[in-house]
């Protein structure tokens, strides 16, 4: 018994087999998601820093050149962008000034869209309110005619929702400008839906901890874990 009973060969096999370096794209994605959950769990990290990490991950891993992340203002019916990645400074400033109300977030008429999954929808350029058309890096192009169903036009964007306990939208990941200019594969959308749902967990926990007494929950546990999650 005891740790000396574990043979060095077996230990070496496990350490090689489970080496922490990701071996393919799926491993890289999961690895990033695990890191993200650890980052979100760290109270010293502001939510904005967590979202910046999410935006970088989506940009790097899923081939979208524009990624924005929005959040509901807690206890108010206002939704706004918190992080924008890959936009021109001008467009970025416009995004950060924008405020959405309940109708904007939920109405099919205001932002016509096509459902693309449990948590996602494609907002197409053809349905975009004119007032929104200045939020593109190349607004002159957004009138472009769709020549193929697989084409992802300037003006198209995908919203992937973060939902809370009451299925209320508490945030969203918005992606556009795929590098190959095509509608993304199903697998990309499913990954981003999982990512958005993990983000919802982070937001809900952070909000709970902001409540009186929230920061105390889970603190009275001895010691620290034997291994780093970072």
């Amino acid at each position: 018994m005891g740790k000396e009973a574990i043979t060095p060969e077996f230990r070496r096999l496990l350490e090689t087999m489970y080496s922490p370096v990701p071996k393919d794209d799926n491993e890289r994605i999961l690895n990033n998601f695990i890191d993200l959950m650890a980052l979100g769990s760290d109270r010293r990290q502001p939510l904005k820093a967590v979202f910046e990490q999410v935006a970088r991950l989506v940009f790097r891993q899923f081939g979208f050149s524009e990624v924005a992340i929005g959040l509901k203002v807690k206890k108010e019916d206002i939704w706004k962008y918190e992080v924008a990645f890959g936009y021109t400074k001008d467009v970025e400033a416009k995004l950060f000034r924008t405020r959405y109300d309940r109708d904007d977030m939920y109405s099919q008429e205001r932002f016509p869209n096509i459902k693309t999954g449990r948590l996602s929808e494609l907002n197409v350029a053809e349905g975009l309110p004119l007032i929104e058309t200045d939020k593109y890096d190349r607004p002159y192009r957004w009138h472009a005619k769709r020549t193929s169903f697989e084409e992802f036009l300037p003006g198209d964007f995908l919203d992937v929702w973060m939902l809370d306990e009451k299925k209320e939208i508490i945030g969203w990941i918005e992606v556009s400008g795929p590098k190959d200019k095509l509608q993304p594969p199903r697998s990309t959308l499913r990954w981003i839906e999982l990512l958005a749902s993990l983000c919802a967990e982070i937001v809900m926990l952070r909000w709970a901890e902001e409540e009186p007494g929230g920061r105390k929950a889970g603190l009275a546990i001895p010691g620290t874990a034997p291994m780093s999650t970072q």
Partner: protein
Amino acid sequence: MATRTSSQIDSTFRQHIESKYSPIPRDDHEKLIDALLGLMEYGRDRRQSLHSFFEQVTRLIFRFFAFDQVAVGLYDRKQKDYYVDVTFGYRDDLAAEYKKVRYDYDDMVSQDRFPNIKIGKISELNPIEGLPEDERRLFNRPYAVSAARQALDQFHEGDYIDVWMMGPQKNIIGWLELSNPRDGKLPSRMTVMWAEIIASVCAYVIRRRWFQEDQARS
């Protein structure tokens, strides 16, 4: 402001997109993500107890990762120790026995008490070779546990994997315990990573539930 309407979306284009992205899972990978989204939704439902959430977790692991035995352990905030809250795939008498065991923090982290090998960011394999004698009675087939390892890539009947659920200060608030893979082999790297995602989600659910419990009490 001129508003456009959903009628401006070409119906053939709509059909194309709806069909391409239909939410019905098309392969195992999509089924797993779908199940995880469902699990998180379940964890958010305040009508469901933490215990029943953990039962869902064990079923999901059993179904997708082919471990015949799954247990979920939790930190007990009143007694300030750790216990097994849910078991799946254990003989009834062993499950009852297992649930009586209490672990202190040293048990959770001591390399001497439970020697292990790190196989992920928050997971480790506890091989039979290092298992304390007093823990051997907690196996379905104690005689099989005594048998020697036949091959290095074999998952011995006495091996088990612990995947940690971490608290706010990287302290352990719970764990997943996986054993008896159906193919008898060490699990794939992806399986370990998915288990770590599930354990991370569990940690968030536990912390939120604790907060809700505290709030309801005050």
